[in-house]
Amino acid sequence: MRAPKLVFFALLLMVTVVLAQSQQPAARQTGVLRLRVRVKADDAAPLRGLSRKRFFLIPGTIEQNRALIDAIARQASTSRDCYYQKIGASAALIAWLRDGDCESVYCRGVEQDFVVGPKAVPEFATAFATSQKEFGNDETARQWLTTNLAADVRDGFYRSRQTSLAALLKQASPEVHSVMTDRNGTAYFTDLGPGTYVLTNLIPTELGQNFVTWNCEVQVKPGDLATEKPYLVSNRKDKNVKCVGIEKPKPVCATD
C-alpha cells in the first residue's frame, strides 16, 4: 500500500521539476534613456556637449531618495584647482590638468613638450628623470612617467572624488546605473527596468566658475533605443531641456 503512494509522489515530484525547468522566463521588458548633456560655461559661451562626465540613475522618486539628495546638497566640494594648490602642485601642472579637463594625470598622454623645454611641468620633469634611471630608455621613461609621481599628484583629486561618491552611493539603492558621456555629451542607459529614477551627477561638475548639480526625476518606459528621443540635460533653461542643473559659484581656494 505504501509503495504505490511513494511511486505516485515520486512521479508528481518529477513532473513538477520538469515543468518548472521547461517554463520559459517571461521576456523582461526594458527601456533606454538616451542622455544628451549640453551646457554653457557662461552666458557668452556657446552651448556645447559636456564630455566625459559620469551620470547616475538611481531607482525611485526624488522623495524616496530625499536623504541622498540632501546629502548631495550638503557635501563640501573642492575644485580641481583648489585641490592641487593645496597639495603644492606647480602652476604648470594645474594648467595642464585644466587644459584637458582632467581629474588625474592619467587622462592624457604626457608629451615630450611637457617633460623638457619651456612648457615643461616640474613634476613631470622630476618623474621623468627618475624613470630614465629606472628604465634606461627615454621613450619608456616618458610613457611610464606616472609610475614615479607622488600619489597625490598622480590621482589624489580623482580619489577624493571617488571617496565622496562611494559615501553617497551607500545611501542609494544598490541598483544604481552609471554611464559616462562621450565627447558630444551623449550617453545611454540601457537595460533599464521601467519605472521612476533619479538622474544625478552626485558630485558637482565644474563648469567655468560654477559647480553644477543635476537631480531630476525620470520616467523610463519599455522601449527600444531606435525610437528613444534624447533626454536633454543642461544648465540653462529651454523648452526642450528636461533636466536643468543647479549652479553654485565655486568657493575661493583657501590660502595657507
Binding site: Y106, G109, F135, T147, M180, R183, T186, L225, A226
Partner: protein
Amino acid sequence: MRWDREAKTSLCHGLTRMTRIKTFAAVTFLILICVHPRSSAADYSKFSHETPKHQATCNTCHKMVFPDIKDYPDHDACVSCHRPQFFKGARPPICSVCHSKTSPRDEARYAFRNPASKLQFMIEFPHDRHQDVIAMLRFSHAQQSYNNCTICHATRTTTFKAVPTNHSSCFNCHWKAQQPVATNCNGCHKLATPYVPATKPTRISIKYLHEGGGEKKQHIAECTTCHINITKAASLRGLKPDVPITACTECHNKDGLRQDLNTELVAIDKNRNFTCVYCHAPNVGNLDPPASHYLIAERPPLKRKDIR
C-alpha cells in the same frame, strides 16, 4: 511488470537486514574506489594552479623582470618539491609542462604562456573605472589619436581591434604604487575553473571598418559613441562589443544622406530570399532583420516567411 515487482519483493524479503546493509556498504566502497582519484596516478604532465601547494605567492615561482613576466619559472621553482619526478625515466612527464621536447639535450619551450593549454585565471578589468581616468581624446600634435582606448585596443585588422596579450598596456600605470601593482597578480588575475577562451567575439556587422567611413574617414570617432555600454562595464564578464543599430543609421539611414538600411528592407519586400550584404556576411544577412531595424525604418517588423 508484475513479474518484476514480485521478483524485487522476494529478493528484498529473501535477504536479512544485516546482509542488505553489508551489500550496500560493499557497493558504496567499490564506487568510492573507482571514483576517487588515486594519488599514485597523478599526471605530472599537467600543471594546475588549483593544487594547494601551487598557491603560494606568485613571485615564489614567477620572476618579474622589467617590463613583464616573459617566461616560465626557473627549474628551482619545480625541483624544490618535484625532484623525484624530474629524474624519473628518460623522458620525465613533468618536463612537458614547459618543454616541447622532453630531452635533456633540447631546452626548447612552448611559448609563454602555452597557447594550447587551458586558461586557469579570469581577468578582472573594470572598463568603467578606466574610462573615468583615461578615456578622453588624446592630445597629439603629430597625429590625432582618437581615444585612449587605443592604449589597450590597437588595430589588429581593418575591422577588428586587438586585445592586450601582455602587460605592457597595464604596467605603464600599474608598475608600482598604483594598485594593483605588477607584483600584485591577484589584483587582476583570479583563479578559475580551467577554460578555453573564446577565440573571437561574434561579429554581426562584419563589414564594418574602424578606419573607414569614406574619404573623410567618418568612422574614426570616439569609441564610446558606438560602444555605448562600455562606460558602465565593471567587469569583463558578459562583455560584448555591442553597438546599437542607431550608431550606424545616424549616417547610413538618414534623409538626404544615405538610405542603406531602407534600401535593403525594400529589397526583402520584393524578394524574401534577398541577402543583406551592405553590413552583413550571408550567415547573418539571410536572417530576418531584427525589430530594431524596422523601428529605424518606421515600419512594422516582418518575417521573411510572411512575405509573398
